[in-house]
Chain length 191, copies 2
DNA sequence: ACGTCTGTTCAAGAAAATTTGAACAAACTG
DNA sequence: CAGTTTGTTCAAATTTTCTTGAACAGACGT
């Protein structure tokens, strides 16, 4: 009694013809999102909602993507947290309905603002802290080691300059202003 | 007999005073690299090399970061593959020496070119393929479903437009030319 | 107030990745 | 050419991350 196989068969039969195209798109976005550091399912769920003219329930989503209700709840919650999905309700219906935030540009900005900028700032802080630490030890060292530490200090300055250029660049992106990648290049070059 | 503790103590004693700052920087870069989808150790190894005035051996690297030789070999190999680290040799010395490629800008470009662009292109292809599939089924559907499929098709056009704008944007980045993020924004707006 | 429906949380189990030591291969030395 | 040294590869073991089903909590209708 191949329960799983039968179930799969039933599903295939009852699926609309466009389901395959829908899943293919969802998977493509899932890969993008996963690469971008999010859960794979977040991209898939968002896409299903984005492609649907009407808000959908967790039940429908779970069925389409063959996910457990807890998996759906978890990833949807995170999507809501990022503002990528909104809850809505229907008069008379008890279930929650979800719809995709459809401005991808808005979403990109929000993520870069909340996440990537923080990450870069932490790196900048770490480099600065390391430099401070080097400066402290400098007086305790012999000539040979002192030159070594000075070298490190200079290199850390370059990493700092680069990170700061990166931060500036992301801030411009978020603001929708023109970006000049040559800034990154030159951040690295000046003595 | 706290072997591990003793070993750790020995290490601490024999470390130069600037080792802590060095590790702190390496870890910061490790986090950045990990977030960016590379092995955590790649960022750490690269940083140690970047901060060193002289090329280093796998043995030194393994000792500093407390890694097994195989871990070092693996991650260094990948760094070499990405052009982030170069092998060099010293007359008389049998061991390989490694030095960091110090132009971060060059590295960024290479990665975006080889990796991110591919990823985006795959997504673009998937969306296009899905649209084609929808067009094929359209004639088989009733009026209600046809409207549904048309909606999906329109949405996929938007995803395609966005992805293509993203691809263009990355290509400009790689080329070091000016970027206008507003292109992304408008890719989404035109019906 | 009770039973039902819905959504979330959590701990256990499954899957995926990283890490390691050992085996292998290659290059050099005496 | 035998014996080292060095570097890579591989499968096993570990760690981490994901997934799941069950337990819990809240809201609703009767």
């Amino acid at each position: 009694m191949p329960t799983a196989a039968v179930k799969q068969q039933d599903l295939n039969d009852s699926q609309p013809l466009w389901r395959e195209a829908e899943l293919k798109s969802a998977d493509a976005m899932g890969r993008l999102m996963e690469f971008w550091g999010f859960r794979r399912h977040m991209g898939r769920l968002w896409t299903i909602l984005y492609l649907s003219p009407d808000p959908m329930t967790t039940t429908e989503l779970a069925e389409i993507l063959q996910l457990s209700s807890s998996a759906v709840s978890l990833s949807l919650g995170e999507l809501v947290h990022w503002g990528a999905v909104r809850k809505t309700w229907r008069p008379g219906e008890r279930k929650d309905f979800y719809q995709a935030e459809s401005s991808v540009w808005k979403l990109l900005r929000r993520v870069y603002e909340r996440r990537e900028l923080n990450l870069i700032r932490e790196a900048i802080d770490a480099f600065g802290e390391a430099q401070r630490q080097l400066a402290e030890t400098r007086s305790l060292l012999g000539q040979e080691e002192r030159r070594r530490v000075d070298y490190m200090h200079k290199r850390l300055s370059r990493l700092s300059a680069l990170s700061k250029a990166g931060e500036r660049l992301v801030r411009l992106l978020v603001a929708g202003r023109m970006i000049n990648p040559a800034d990154l290049q030159s951040a690295e070059e000046e003595e």
